[in-house]
């Protein structure tokens, strides 16, 4: 579903060049749930934005859903769902209306768009707030609506950028429940960035640890933890072992 080779992106700020992502090789098979893990500034979001065609790479290659992100961006976009870091909701829009517009932008027919909006509102427990303005939704509701927006066209691949940041533990658990259901029922491939280690540990089959723009570890959470001696090893210990720093630093 995803294949990158030596994917890189640098930003120029004044005289300095910041290499946000430097040479990432990543393969994600259909149906996988992969957590992209790393401290703030590790390059997770930059990597995600390249894979979702929002940012052109400066070097290397990436194909997503069978198409090159650089030369076939529109085909990639049509086949993936993208849920960004912020709430991507219009301030003067109602929940259902945003879903309808989004579905139209993905080329879903009018009648199907209405059915799909109702289906997603139901699935993500938003039916009661469907006709309310988005600013009046709770944090958890907004996030679930963001996810619904990413699913209007039934993508086979879903990208989630820090989906649970700012949510209380109950909303976080609820959100992961929805992601699990999506995979069980539709076999959707999911790539999620997070800096909540317990989430990656508990929900992902595979953790890809990123630091300074490169992949420094890749495996099942258990396999990664197996590399570190000791009992009750956490993914933070794995990161500490690899880099000498704690993932929680600077939080």
């Amino acid at each position: 579903m995803i294949r990158t080779r030596a994917l890189a992106r640098s930003f120029r700020s004044g005289k300095h060049t910041v290499e946000a992502v430097r040479g990432v090789d990543l393969d994600v098979a259909e149906g996988e749930l992969v957590a992209l893990l790393g401290p703030n500034g590790a390059g997770k979001t930059t990597l995600l934005r390249m894979l979702t065609t929002l940012l052109p790479p400066t070097a290397g290659a990436a194909t997503v859903a069978g198409y090159d992100v650089r030369t076939d961006a529109a085909r990639v976009r049509a086949r993936i769902g993208v849920v960004g870091q912020g709430h991507g909701l219009g301030e003067s829009q109602r929940a259902r209306d945003e879903l309808l517009t989004q579905a139209r932008l993905y080329g879903v027919g009018r009648r199907e768009a209405r059915a799909r909006a109702d289906e997603l509102l139901e699935m993500l427990e938003l039916t009661g707030v469907a006709d309310r303005g988005t600013p009046s939704l709770s944090g958890g509701q907004k996030r679930r609506l963001d996810i619904a927006l990413g699913l209007v066209h039934r993508p086979r691949m879903l990208f989630l950028d820090e989906p649970s940041t700012g949510l209380d533990p109950q909303s976080r658990a609820n959100l992961w429940g929805h992601v699990a259901r999506l995979r069980a029922e539709h076999g959707t491939t999911v790539l999620v960035t997070t800096h909540y280690l317990d989430e990656a540990d508990g929900h992902a089959e595979r953790a890809v640890v990123v630091d300074h723009g490169t992949v420094i570890a890749d495996g099942t959470p258990d396999a990664l933890k197996g590399q570190v001696p000791g009992d009750r090893v956490t993914l933070d210990d794995v990161f500490l072992n690899l880099t000498g720093r704690s993932l929680r630093e600077g939080e």
């Binding site: 052109p56 085909r75 976009r77 991507g88 199907e112």
Partner: protein
Amino acid sequence: MSAATTERNTQDPGAVRPSAVRDVLAVWNRQARPLVRNPLAVVFGMAQPLLYLALFAPLLTGLGGPEGQDPWQWFVPGLLVMLALFTCGFAGFGLLPEIASGAHERMLATPASRTSLLLGRVVQDVALMLVQSVLVLLLVLPLGFRAPLPETVLGLALLAVLGAVLATLSYVVALATRQTYVFAPVLQTVVMPLMLLSGVLLPMDLAPGWLYTLSRLNPLAHVVDAERALFAGQWGTDVAVGWVVALVLLVLSLVLGARMMRRGAS
């Protein structure tokens, strides 16, 4: 285009025929919805031009030229241009929160063409401005304002072209500045001289030579002249010049706007 070609193919859920019209309509629909639900907002957006109409235009009565003899007939065509300047020129303010929240990027991530995403917004801004213009005309007709139908239609069409230019450029500035605290002062710095040098408020014939020359460099001044000529029933050079200026600007601004949008969120 038949409905079948725009709907999705069930074999490959990603294989959707691109349709610029569908995308523009979807965005227009989205932008129009809050105003359809709350039509009073249309009137609130006109506050500034209406205040000029009520509290400034009567001052012209004391002046000697055509503006003094028939203040409404002289002032209202310019007021319509002012309306375009405020409604469409400030359109970027609507995009800024969506850039900040990620809603803009969410739409950039869809297969809809970026030019369509821009045009959908511009179409709504122009439509709103035209509704406001018609309201102004309905307001001044009982006061003796003369608006013959062919001239009025051509005048509103010219206004729509100007509005599309101003809205597009406003979005270009919003996309370039991205932050309200940068956008607002940049816009004010551009809008105020554009208005003062357009001859909307007072005839530029009253200006000293250097100021008059400056006003001739202001494209808005030529549109104001064209609108005044039209509503006075004079088909001539002024009308032609106004149209040429507006259409050239339209092409330039759309090319620039499409490029800005394609640059995307990077």
